[in-house]
Amino acid sequence: MKPIIEVENLSKLYRLGVIGTTTLRDSLERWWYRIRGKEELCWKIGTKRFMVNPHDPQAGPEPNTIWALKDISFSVQQGEIVGIIGKNGAGKSTLLKILTRLTEPTSGRAIMRGRVSSMLAVGTGFHPELTGRENVYLNGTLLGMRKTEIDRKFDEIVAFAGIEKFIDTPVKRYSSGMYVRLAFAVAAHLEPEILLVDEVLAVGDAAFQKKCLGKMGDVAREGRTVLFVSHNMAAIQTLCNRTILLHLGQLVHDGSSHQVVQKYLQNGTQRAEVFFGPDTVRSGNGAARYTCARLLDRNGQVVSSVPMGHGVTVELEFECKAKITSPHFGVRLHTPLNQDLIWWRSDEMHGEMPSVSKGGVIRLHIERLNLLPGLYYLALGFSDGYQRLDLIEDGLELEITPQPVYATGKLPSSKRAVMFTPCSWTHEYK
């Protein structure tokens, strides 16, 4: 049987900035500049800087464009409940918007072989002057139901929301909780073959949330296909047997919910690889600048955390505006409370580095980090021996994870300590 949802190389490019809501004047101005042959001025009109760093992995082909989704492909069989997770900005809502036909993909395509209903936001179209009853009909037809269908399910909807007494009063008198429950009740009674749900479970009290999860479970049991976007990992693991992980617009993982959720949580919120752009807070005269920083383990893989006692390599990419005869690189580790712990300086530990004119990559290899588990920050510095060229205080985050480093298997406690060292205890009793 053909899959009920087939997504093939779906991509979506967005233009950032004021391009959309221009006034006639802006458009005319841009056109005027263009025919005068001054193309590059286009992007400076309105005093907007570049918003997308050209080194950003999501950067699109033109300035200020970004790939919200890039080459997403997957297929879903009828009856599957698939979770979609990812950090904010990974492209989850964009994917749902395209599948709901709210916006068009830039390339690629999706085939939906069934009636689609979405719960992207409940309560759309509710008019405050209308009564609950009238709004149920309005919202229901907006979501794609027929009037007869709503007639049939009306009592169920009202019972689910628990507002029988208030159904004939204008919605403007409802409390926000009632409003949301009614809105969700309407949406919950859609009967599409494919249901797309986007984080609706974030609303309502615990009892209501439980009801919603229950309803979604029922929907799934009836054999409908559900795509469920959420940040609630517990809900994802309960409801979905399969999960897709999106990261920076790309599909990075597709498998059993448990596995994918674990992978997502592991990479948590640490930034393993950071790109520095116009928005980075930095000081220095800028004759040379760091463009990108990342942490590598001993195999050269990018990592976001380091186990206790292990080594790590800090890799920094930089660019120079002019020739720098004696570059001095520095990486300083400090705690979140700004207590400086270690300062690695290339001039002290390596000697003079050769001169550099265009840019390149510099790596700091640290053999062992005898630090206790926790979150630390790395400040990145660049000087030419006399002046500071670049200093990014909050460059990289480094997380040290617990590891049994002692034979006892116990972990050093970090209440009054920051470091640990290899050691042994010997005894001689009387």
């Binding site: 053909k2 916006t103 068009e104 993909p105 999706a110 069934g114 936001a121 008019h127």
Partner: protein, 289 residues
């Protein structure tokens, strides 16, 4: 359990870029017809709930406008009304015109006025302007009733009534109404597409409607327009419509088949191109607003 294997084969939506500009989701429009009904109902309830006069507000403005016109244009400026009682003359013109103007106003703000609706739910976007067009029919009906009230009074209770000669063209009026709906929808779609992208143009709409009114023979009959200017007036698709309203009810005015034909052609052209550009805007609107 659902047994949708047969339906699955026939029901397929392919989502891909660069859908044809002429694509109208007919099936969607049919499916969502209940929405049309409830939208009209919503507009009706929300406009007149908690008001005293309610639907009377549909009738009062044209009455007062006609009165003002009678005084200013009739008595002060002394513009001819083809020998008809001024109240009747202006009421008739306004009857035809107000439907056009209210449809234009109601449809031109579709995109930016309903952005919140559009960004959350998918439904065939044409439903919204269509709901306005249908909603305005209520006002039209009430205004027609008012006009007929005055009409019968003048015809049967006054001297001037003898010069009022209705004729069979009254039967064509539903067609004229349809054409008015079509042209206002077409222009409305154009304007909504433009205002979706260029917000400042929405200030143009009210202003445009005002000017258009003066370019249409409402406060003056076609007969006082100099011969050489008449072809220019023919480009205004509403001009022959308004004249024909007066001709049908009151028996005066010009009846020029060529003008009517041109007007119909322009209407169809504007409507089709309006749908084209509306479709195009619908696709990209969410990315730019």
């Amino acid at each position: 359990m659902l047994n949708k294997s047969t339906e699955q084969d026939s029901f397929e939506i392919i989502i891909q870029p660069n859908r044809s500009w002429f694509y109208i989701d007919w099936r969607g429009l049919l499916h969502y017809r209940d929405l049309l009904f409830f939208l009209v109902r919503r507009d009706f309830i929300s406009q007149y709930k908690q008001t005293i006069l309610g639907p009377a507000w549909f009738i009062i403005p044209p009455l007062i406008t006609s009165l003002v016109f009678t005084v200013i244009f009739g008595k002060v400026a002394k513009i001819s009304t083809d020998g008809l009682p001024p109240m009747l003359f202006y009421l008739c013109g306004l009857l035809a015109w107000r439907y056009f103007a209210s449809c234009l106003g109601g449809t031109s703000g579709t995109f930016f006025g309903n952005a919140n609706l559009f960004e959350k739910v998918y439904f065939p976007r044409l439903i919204l302007p269509l709901s306005r067009i249908i909603f305005n029919l209520f006002a039209f009906t009430l205004q027609l009733a008012t006009f007929l009230g005055f009409y019968f009074y003048y015809k049967y209770f006054t001297q001037v009534g003898l010069s009022i000669k209705p004729n069979l063209f009254i039967a064509v009026l539903p067609l004229l109404l349809l054409q008015t709906a079509a042209i206002s929808l077409g222009v409305g779609l154009w304007l909504s597409a433009l205002t979706a992208k260029y917000r400042d143009l929405r200030f143009l709409v009210g202003f445009l409607t005002q000017l258009w009114m003066y370019a249409t023979p409402i406060v003056y009959p076609m007969s006082i327009v100099p011969e050489k200017w008449r072809p220019a007036l023919a480009i205004n698709p509403m001009a022959p419509i308004v004249e024909l309203y007066r001709y049908a009810f009151l028996g005066t005015g010009f009846l020029n088949l060529n003008c009517l034909l041109i007007s119909a052609v322009i209407t169809i052209f504007v409507l089709l191109t309006g749908i084209l550009i509306f479709n195009r805007t619908e696709r990209t609107f969410l990315d730019t607003v």
